[in-house]
Amino acid sequence: MSALAARRIAIIQGEHAVVREPDAIISTLLGSCIAVCLHDAEARIGGMNHFLLGEPQADQQLRDVDLQRYGVHAMELLINAMMKAGAERSRLRANLYGGANIIAGLGGIGSANAAFAKRFLTTEGITVGQSDTGGTLARKVEFRPYDGKVRCKTVADRPLPPPITPRIPAGCGEIELF
């Protein structure tokens, strides 16, 4: 990965980035969260998201702000952004990172996140290439969207940012038409 990268884009929980610049790098720091890197090799477009938890159950009464954390929507935002940038859905390939079970006693939330992401990609027919999930250590992921190369390394000594309230679209969940 080039040390002379023109632009570094760091994303945090609840965010995604899609780029097609040759030297740009998207990076993130993951604990139990998941980052999915999508790449269209032909269009040379790549994108990465960073999300927490899986899909909500139908009987859950959740605030809309909570739902933003969920993968279904996070993945839809990333896929739509890729397609808007010119990627073809049928050409998308995915790499998957994170899902560590860092804090004992949380019921394997990291594993649940990873399982969700794998199930989502299978359901959507998106091939998963590299996958580095599980374990008990945080990961730093650097993704070069132009050629799809990813560097993922575990980081035992880096403090993870605390979970944050994700940003949600204005008017999320509600528009009063009538």
Binding site: D64, L67, V72, H73, N80, P169, C172, E174, L177
Partner: protein, 129 residues
């Protein structure tokens, strides 16, 4: 009060995971006759041969989007009165205005709680049993 089980629904979204999530929520509300399609053109063809009472459609889809589907339904002699609820990842004013002008029955911005979807359906059909 309409029985949810008597309402035929078509769910349209290019993401299978989203369709599955909406289907599960609808089943939880008591809906029994739920069909789904991954594209607006397929959905339109399907409801022309077998009509439904309610279409729940994503806006952002490749080729034919949710607005195109709404327009096609509203200009179709047979389907024109089908209830249409639009789902979108954006509360973009222009899309909302366009949908309203075309006669959308309600509009929901993702991500939404299942209860919000039920509320939107009930605002059109009345309280579901």
């Amino acid at each position: 009060m309409p029985a949810a089980s008597a309402i035929k629904v078509m769910v349209v979204d290019d993401q299978a995971s989203m369709r599955a999530m909406i289907r599960r929520a609808l089943q939880d509300f008591g809906f029994k006759d739920i069909r789904d399609k991954g594209s607006a053109s397929e959905a339109f063809a399907a409801i022309r041969t077998d009509r439904v009472h309610l279409v729940i459609s994503d806006y952002n889809m490749p080729d034919m989007d949710g607005i195109d589907l709404l327009r096609a339904i509203r200009t179709d002699e047979v389907l024109a009165k089908t209830v249409f609820i639009m789902l979108t990842g954006s509360s973009d004013r222009e899309i909302v205005q366009k949908a309203a002008a075309l006669g959308v029955n309600n509009y929901l911005v993702k991500p939404f709680a299942p209860a919000a979807l039920k509320e939107k359906i009930e605002r059109v059909f009345g309280a579901l049993t």
